[in-house]
Amino acid sequence: MFKRIYQAWCRSSARMACNPWVLVIGAAVVLSAVMGGRNKIAGHESGVMHVLAGLAALALTAVAAVLLTWAARTVAAASGHHADPATIPVQAPAGVKPVTVPAPQAMPARPGEPAYTLRIRPPDPEAEAMAAEADALRDERVVPVVTTGGTLYETARREP
């Protein structure tokens, strides 16, 4: 915990060393001290405090906006099977054939290979047409490769 805090501190200080705004703010503070900035704002303390309060409120609002944006993007980008639809019973109305996804099957591992889970998907006509087109091109010299995006490549068969 403390190691991570120390690493974050080192990281932020290293970034600040490369940030020109740190130099600009430091120069402004030194100049105001040299030129008697404290005397010049002597009659405007309340105004300065008001501006600082507004900046603080804007900064807090910005932090809230960043947090909410992160939350919304995290929810929108989530995908997976926290609740697998195959395990949820669906009550189909009478006379309607329900569209269900077959339950995943655990496949045994072959020696030397990791085990995996086979999820049988419903037949996809577009994928079947792509596979048929690829098979039509297959011969002694050409090995067709269909990418997931549907692009068809022909590669020469490697001579043994």
């Binding site: 939350a71 995908s79 099977h81 949820i88």
Partner: protein, 125 residues
Amino acid sequence: MSELALPVMLALLGLAAAGMLYHSVTEHHLHLLIARKVSPDTEVPPTRHDTGWHAMSHGKRFWVDVAMLAAAACLGLAWQVERTATTAGVILALACAGIWLAARRVSRTVGPREHRKRVPLDPEE
């Protein structure tokens, strides 16, 4: 209730209501369910369980809840510090979000650059 806790609680309630509305519309199609009450022909797609909040683990849901809680605390504190700047900041953030969402929708409707058809200006070309 202290003066500081009231804005934070109100911000928390507002964010919770906004989050519930977002979830109801995007994942449970609440707007289509309401529209079906008026027009029974309205098609309501089934609620998906593999995307969005339904697909998230409890750990991720916890951190999203923490982020919303922290955002509510920041908003409530900002309201307590300076109300005008907070109002301006919230309006600015909402405007930026609206512009960004509209631009993204237009961009997705138009499609990627390489998929756009080139329309010649000169028909003879």
